[in-house]
Amino acid sequence: MEIFVKIIEDAVFAAIAAIGFSAISNPPKVAFKYCALIAAVGHALRYCLTTLWGMHLVWGSFISAFVIGCLAIYFAPKVKCPPETFAYPSLLPMIPGIYAYKSLQAFLMLLGRGSEEEFTHYAYLLQFNGLTCVLVVFAMVLGQMIPIFLFKRKSFSATRG
């Protein structure tokens, strides 16, 4: 039961984040609810894959992003919007911001250290966090792009009136 509550909580907060971040890119009003739904499903799926089933964050992000891309293509013709309208904002809550922040922090620590041992430690942190951040972002974007490129006809004719 506790796990179920955590999954729901993750989905709800991802939906709120997706609505807010999608507002920055001025989507049609009808798109908000789909952004929220797709982001909730995608983020909750990543939570299950990584936290419950122990999958690596990179693979979890890739699979979740792939599902996000598929859902966006499914909903796009119904609302007559390009699938990017839903897919991109739904992806934003999955950005590994804390890894990016820790990379910056490690970089700054690196500059301020004199001893070799400390330098090596912070160089390790910089590489670990930086690499994780870059790979997660790349996996996310690639995972979400694959359905759009696989189903080109459907993706690019969604707005056909």
Binding site: D10, F13, A14, I16, A17, A18, I19, G20, F21, S22, A23, I24, S25, N26, P27, P28, A31, H43, K80, C81, P82, E84, T85, Y88, L91, L92, P93, I95, G97, I98, A100, Y101, K102, L104, Q105, L108, M109, G112, V137, F138, V141, L142, Q144, M145, I148, F149, F156, S157, A158, T159, R160, G161
Partner: protein, 268 residues
Amino acid sequence: MISIAMMMTAKNKSHVCAADASRFLANYSAYLWGYGATCIRITKNVNRMAESLGYRADITILPKHVAVALTDETSGEYAHYTCSIKSLPISYLANTGMSKLSWDVAEGKVDIACAEKVMGRIFRTPLMSVWHVMCLVVLANAAFCRLFGGDPIAMAIVGFATLLGYSIKNICLKHGVDVRAMVLLSSFVSAIVGSAGYVFGITSTPEIALGTSVLYLIPGIPYINSVSDMIDGHYLCFFSRTMQAVVLTCCIASGLTLAFMIMNIKIF
């Protein structure tokens, strides 16, 4: 069916010379890029319209310009038009409207003159209210903080940091401040407020509050668009979009670093 399509093509073409069509299509591409469309979408939409007008389109998309060359393969008529890319806020509402317009032109529902008017209407469509966007972004960033494991006080700190940072962003936009300076300033203000957890010791997750406080500034859409361009082989556009996003990310990092130094947060 085929004869109807041919008649439609002939009808459209009889109204539009290659020069007018290339001017319209280059302008269309420049606006679509400005609204945040990927290269593959721009190419598909332009080709669709050009084909319906009876021309073969060759599009060159550069970081600052778009060039459209139209050739009538039967008569040999040729026209070329280059247009500067418009600097516009990313808008999926406009993106959707422009994509619909391309289908309308391709299916002969509107002619080029009418399409230009529709494009003007799309351009003038008001964006979402700044206040509404700000409220949604504040909630989104607070929710983001929660997703990273922040406690309710960290969420409140992030919400307030976002409110102030986003207000600064809006003020800068209103006064036409350079985007890089705007991002740096907003990041700095958000990070100063976001460091409240460290300064007052009121949250058990001050690191998450500080790290999340600037994330609403991350240029996510340009990063995603750049990968799409890379997959589609538009390497110049990929590089250009990536560099734009990287520069903005560096500005965010600089604002954050300045805040670290001023607030004397012990990371040095």
